[in-house]
């Protein structure tokens, strides 16, 4: 069982439960073990912790009440959207309040002329696009979890999706937030316009993992539905060639809406699960989507097809119609559950690397896979260089979870070594605290703690997540030195 990373001394104050009951509707306060159980983890299920109490406020005033009470009593608070996070960001604290935004589930206003929607944080990502469809508009960021994840969680993680290559991440697709600070004060950042006066707190809030303030309202940008989306599927007989094709395509001047890669284990898993018609003997496939103005797409389809063939693709299919395009995506979208069928457990990693390093890093992961004796499948946002190696393990085999975690840690450190980062879109949460010590030095981490203190001087909002303490890094560093300068000297270095 991984250690719960929170290093604070516990300060249980069960008295706050009664206080919360007095101020909130009865159905908004949960505290029996059975009621708490569904909240004990997010999508990173290896970490579990029951909170002291769960609150489900329904109004902004109730959120303010909860935060004021917690602030006065110095009780920590963890915000939670849909709990699909993959880094333990919404992992509860034993002596803390879990603040669920699930009941903030209304779309408040759609403004087709300005291309915006005002929504509450608990609204599901896909629900925004569904509501905007009547106006020919949609919300661009589309995490694979979009049927379940909340827009508030998306903002807190700066989530991405397969179409982020062309349309940007969450931070590029929101205009304004209403937030509540730990002291219960309501404030706004951003504007309904394209920019706002003062420091860019909208950017700072995006991806801050619930550590700076609680989001209670969001204005998102809506885009016109592209008049045409064209899918292509290219097969390669080596992962290196596929990786090189990605770099060439990006350099060519065409920006696909999405450019995804799957390696052979992922292809076979997806094929066995959804029968999308993928070439099962290919070492890798690229799924590319071009969208926008019809005449432009037609021009690009031809160029991309030629380029992929020239880059060594053994086959390039262009979708004849929308049904075929969606079929290309079907295997990609189902890849995680498909891989889940191969193994009792899997661990999804999330590093980003410069695109030119794709082939090298994939080879290196293969070598690590042999070293640890754990299988890996790769399904990822190739166009952005955002890797998602899925490490297959069995938690019931003693030691396998630890091995999977060490393997994952090595992959992330490898990403930093080649000039990348330990998380592209899933966040640090509790999962990547150690790797943060590799990516940032103590002055940098100290600066981040100072920023946290600017918003939350007592460290009550989601404490222990996202930014490691210097103490923790010192211990992690010591551990590393103990294992020796060069980890796994027996592995080939590329």
């Amino acid at each position: 069982m991984p250690r719960i990373p929170d290093e604070r001394p516990l300060s249980p104050q069960p008295g706050i439960i009664d206080e919360l009951r007095r101020r909130l509707p009865t159905a908004s306060v949960l505290s029996t073990p059975a009621e708490l159980a569904p909240y004990e983890c997010d999508g990173l299920t290896a970490f579990r912790q029951r909170p002291m109490v769960v609150v489900l406020p329904e109004t902004v005033e109730q959120v303010q009440t909860v935060l004021r009470l917690c602030h006065a009593a110095r009780v920590p608070v963890v915000a939670r959207g849909a709990g699909t996070g993959l880094s333990g960001g919404a992992l509860p604290l034993e002596d803390g309040v879990l603040l669920s935004l699930a009941r903030f589930n209304r779309i408040l206003h759609i403004d087709p002329d300005n291309g915006t929607a005002r929504v509450q944080p608990g609204v599901r990502n896909l629900a925004i696009t569904e509501a905007a469809a009547a106006h020919g508009l949609y919300y661009a960021p589309d995490p694979s979890s979009q049927i379940a994840c909340s827009i508030g969680g998306n903002v807190a993680e700066n989530s991405g999706g397969v179409h982020c290559l062309k349309y940007g991440l969450t931070v590029h697709n929101i205009l304004r937030l209403t937030l509540i600070g730990i002291d219960g004060e309501l404030f706004e950042v951003g504007a309904e316009a394209l920019d706002s006066p003062g420091l860019d707190l909208l950017a700072l809030m995006t991806g801050s993992e619930g550590m700076l303030a609680v989001i209670v309202e969001i204005t998102v940008k809506l885009l016109p539905r592209p008049e045409r989306a064209q899918g292509l599927l290219a097969a390669f007989d080596s992962v290196e060639r596929a990786g090189a094709a990605v770099a060439r395509l990006i350099a060519s001047g065409i920006t696909p809406a999405g450019l995804e890669m799957m390696d052979n284990p992922a292809i076979r898993a997806a094929e066995a699960f959804v029968h999308a018609g993928y070439p099962e003997d290919a070492a890798a496939v690229l799924i590319c989507e071009l969208d926008g103005f019809n005449a432009e797409v037609s021009f690009e389809v031809m160029r991309v097809r030629e380029l992929l063939l020239d880059a060594g693709a053994t086959e390039v299919r262009t979708a004849r119609d929308d049904a075929e395009r969606l079929n290309f995506w079907k295997g990609r979208k189902a890849a995680f559950p498909a891989v889940g069928r191969l193994s009792p457990d899997y661990y999804c990693m999330d590093g980003t690397i410069p695109r030119r390093e794709l082939a090298t890093v994939l080879k290196r992961i293969e070598a690590l896979s042999e070293h640890y004796g754990l299988r890996v499948a790769n399904v990822f946002h190739a166009g952005d260089g955002n890797l998602h190696p899925l490490i297959l393990y069995d938690a019931n085999v003693p030691g396998e979870l630890d091995k999977a975690e060490d393997f994952g840690g090595d992959i992330l450190e490898l990403c930093v070594q080649v000039g990348g980062t330990v998380t592209g879109e899933h966040g640090v949460g509790v999962e990547k605290l150690n790797q943060m010590c590799v990516q940032f030095d103590s002055d940098e981490l100290t600066q981040m703690h100072a920023v946290k203190a600017a918003f939350d001087p007592h460290g009550l909002l989601n404490p222990g997540k996202a930014v490691p303490t210097l103490h923790r890094c010192a211990e992690f560093g010591a551990m590393h030195v103990h294992h020796g300068e060069l980890k796994f000297p027996e592995l080939p270095r590329f």
């Binding site: 700066n158 991440l169 003062g198 950017a203 690009e300 000039g419 330990v422 592209g424 943060m436 918003f455």
Partner: protein, 375 residues
């Protein structure tokens, strides 16, 4: 550019910051000085000159990213990108040949392409900066997606140097379009606003729009077929020498910007009706003193307009108003409205600004007063 001179330039900046901290003397951070007119006057008599810290650190076109030292001239970087068929997606204004990359990011100003592509802030991938303790810190990175730690790099865009000294910036770049064409038609301002909104509701390859003096200009980019097809849909006559027009707009060299009258910038939800300013700009012809860009989201106004009235109107519409150029007597305090050239902040947000300033620059060394008089 050898490593040694790079190290020296950075070390020299660190030493100046440490000396200023010791002496308690605030610093006015300066790149090329091209945007000295913008923002509020900094309460600092000493200048920290960043223009010597220059050079490209990393540029590989296939990565669509470039890392440059903050003092590098913007014009040099744009020439390098152009030579590789690339460009900054946000089309930054230079406001003079001396403009540096650091000043571009710190001022956070974007040009005509902004609503159709990205802002400076959107394109920031990572920074290295000096905080008020003289520590060189790196945030963000050089890759496209990165959520490790707080996003302190995008926070620097538009910060006007009040949080730290930018040393190095990594920015996303984009391919330059294959072809482009600008179409012009006669339109009233309200007609132009309606058309710009209609085009925004379709996936047309529009990359810039501007209305001024009864003429609506639209730039479209793409392949030959895409240009022909969108020309058919949009109408209007092709403008010769169009690159020049968009550059003159971006650099505020068009006739509209001439003369000494104060220049206001309104940033508004794009569909804001032109009547939103009725209470402020009385007159028969509402378009007489306006230039509208960004599909309606950026509107420039000339004249001695009441700051309070403009701000109230812009805020009510969901946006804000900035006194972009104070006019003839820039130096005379009377020219600058109470609270400074930017729309004042909500009290809670102002408090958070002060706290952040404290977190980066506890001694208040960097550009005090430049963003807001309060810090």
């Amino acid at each position: 550019m050898t490593d040694i001179s790079e190290h020296d330039a950075e070390q020299a900046l660190i030493e100046q910051v440490l000396a200023a901290a010791d002496a308690g003397t605030p610093l006015c951070i300066r790149g090329g000085g091209s945007k000295d007119f913008y923002g509020n006057p900094a309460r600092a008599s000493r200048t920290l000159d960043c223009a010597t810290h220059r050079g490209v650190v990393a540029y590989e076109p296939s990565e669509l990213a470039i890392t440059v030292r903050a003092g590098t001239p913007l014009a040099d970087v744009e020439a390098l990108l152009q030579a590789n068929g690339q460009q900054f997606p946000f089309e930054p204004p230079h406001f003079g040949p001396a403009a540096t990359i650091g000043g571009m990011v710190a001022a956070g100003l974007s040009g005509p392409r902004r609503p159709y592509a990205a802002s400076v802030r959107d394109a920031v991938l990572g920074v290295r900066l000096l905080n008020g303790r003289g520590q060189a810190l790196g945030f963000g990175g050089r890759v496209m997606k990165n959520v490790a730690g707080y996003d302190l790099s995008r926070l620097m865009a538009g910060s006007l140097g009040v949080l730290g000294v930018l040393l190095e910036v990594s920015l996303k770049v984009s391919p330059a379009p294959v072809g482009r064409m600008t179409l012009v038609q006669e339109q009233s301002l309200s007609g132009a606003l309606a058309l710009m909104r209609r085009w925004a509701r379709r996936s047309l390859p529009v990359t810039a729009t501007a209305w001024s003096g009864g003429r609506l200009s639209v730039r479209i980019c793409g392949s030959e077929d895409a240009l022909a097809e969108s020309h058919r849909l949009i109408g209007g006559l092709p403008l010769p020498d169009a690159d020049r027009f968009w550059q003159d707009l971006r650099e505020q060299r068009l006739d509209f910007f001439a003369g000494e009258a104060p220049l206001w910038r309104l940033s508004l939800p794009p569909a804001t009706p032109l009547e939103c300013l009725d209470a402020v700009c009385a007159g028969d012809d509402p378009g007489a003193d306006q230039l509208v860009e960004w599909g309606g989201a950026q509107r420039w106004l000339r004249g001695d307009l009441p700051a309070d009235g403009l701000r109230a109107a812009a805020t009510a519409a969901g946006g804000h108003a900035t006194l972009f150029r104070a006019g003839a007597d820039q130096a005379a305090p009377a020219a600058i409205p109470v609270g400074g050239v930017f729309t004042p902040l909500q009290p809670v947000v102002l408090r958070l600004h002060r706290n952040l300033k404290q977190a980066f620059d506890p001694a208040g060394l960097f550009n005090p007063g430049r963003l807001y008089p309060e810090f």
